[in-house]
Symmetry: C2
Subunit: 321 residues, 2 copies
Amino acid sequence: MKNEFEWIRSISPGFHYHKEVITGIGDDAAVVREKAGYDTVLAVDTMVEDVHFTKETMPLKAIGRKALAVNVSDLAAMGAVPLYFIVSIAVPKSGWTQEEIGEIYSGMKGLAEKYPMDLIGGDTVSIKEKLVISVTVTGRVEKDRALLRSSAEPGDLLFLTGKIGYAAAGLDRLLKEGKQAWDDEDPFIQAHQSPDPHVKYGRGFVESGKRIAANDVSDGAAHESKEIAEASGVDVNIEWEKLPEVDRFAFLSDEKQEEWLLRGGEDFCLIGTASPKTCAELEERNLPLYIIGSVAEGKGRVWLERSGRRSELLGGGYTHF
Amino acid sequence: MKNEFEWIRSISPGFHYHKEVITGIGDDAAVVREKAGYDTVLAVDTMVEDVHFTKETMPLKAIGRKALAVNVSDLAAMGAVPLYFIVSIAVPKSGWTQEEIGEIYSGMKGLAEKYPMDLIGGDTVSIKEKLVISVTVTGRVEKDRALLRSSAEPGDLLFLTGKIGYAAAGLDRLLKEGKQAWDDEDPFIQAHQSPDPHVKYGRGFVESGKRIAANDVSDGAAHESKEIAEASGVDVNIEWEKLPEVDRFAFLSDEKQEEWLLRGGEDFCLIGTASPKTCAELEERNLPLYIIGSVAEGKGRVWLERSGRRSELLGGGYTHF
């Protein structure tokens, strides 16, 4: 196979969207120029074959697209404009063709064109068994305006910018049915295979100039609420009946419903808190929210109100291992 | 095992060396502030168990230290000051204990203290078989002063900032003898296990204000020379007898000598070119160089002069796959 630079060059566009790229791929490291008045935001996320995807659960392009999307979602949760990405890929010595790896890159490229983002570096290594894709992204946000999870205050409303439980439902079907379940029109399958990062919301929140706490729902609404509660020193209350389309999951056991909706993870919308006044203003700015609960004085706990009972959600959501 | 943030927090110092870290570990992404007048330099390198290291070839701390060092070396080759790093680690479901992973982090931390660099983010995922560590680093270099491989000109001298062939020699012994070969005093073993990035040289080159082309020797002197030759549109001549301590490898066959010294890779000193006048000035600045050849007009080729013969080095050095 080609060496890493020839390889990465061969799948890169011959230009950069951002003139601030001084040196992209092809030297020891990339060099970029920052814009005055902005902070730099960085995140990394890794996807591993047979843990986060298989060739049965995901089309190749979707694997690449999602590897970038989950990182862009982290930028969205900070309110940043996505700018650059770096890809490190460990390719198994057998079982993967160069064409298949090309498909993965082409999926990344598709999403990158949207924002747009420049691929500015990478590393290609070999591995014995399973494919590993690690993507690092950077973006920028106006100085001191990053959306922090420590900004929640008692009296705030808890909101979602999208639906939850969809990705878990999609994965469940994909694990049971494999490729037969692939369906470009099925919102559950699409939520797992082709999540859309909520950059529009993140940027809208920053541009509003208001105090807003935000996380993306990558590790499940319970876990992400817990992080906001702990970082802000407040308690967060989730009202079950207010969760979007909760009836859609009524065919499941109560336990399974809570697993998919609250601990499922991989729903890449944002969860956050803001004052009722700010929430109303955001709606006016064409950023519709699902209000699903509220913030009270407390000490970092998350409560679930359901069927007249109030219970503390312990431990949070999805953890790796 | 703990979730990723608890885990990363548990091995992080409770402070940042750099006050420009606005948000480190613990939110969706890190936020850092750039300094006016500087460009940002970014690189990523991945190390895979059984490809780049095994528990037989490397002590655990050395695995972590090297995963960071190879990235810092890329920053050095650009002349940048190392600042931040982000770690993505895929931990096998069996065969690795939490304590062992802790040792790896502790090796990174040791090197990070030296520069100093702040750990500002990360991702921990599980994998079925083999450990994968992917490190992203960022640094800064004075605006427009990054050391590019495209700066070589006819009449330049070709130099090394350290010895080559050592890492290949060390790895050869480690693959044959395993842990028995571990020796903190053996320069070959140390070159493989604990490479020192040449940050002092990279910074010295930038501070000199002179035109200097540079690469690190990570993929072998032949390959790195080829990259300089191609990027600069010149030919590069390597004189075998001028390679540092070349006699030390005389016990090997000619072919093996060239493999270790020119195509071995993983020697993390710098290779570069500068005018004879600049080379003399660098020596005066306490940056001693091994002059190993010269640059001539040409079209991106690398020549080796040895025993009265001149041959073109094709293909370059180590390529992955």
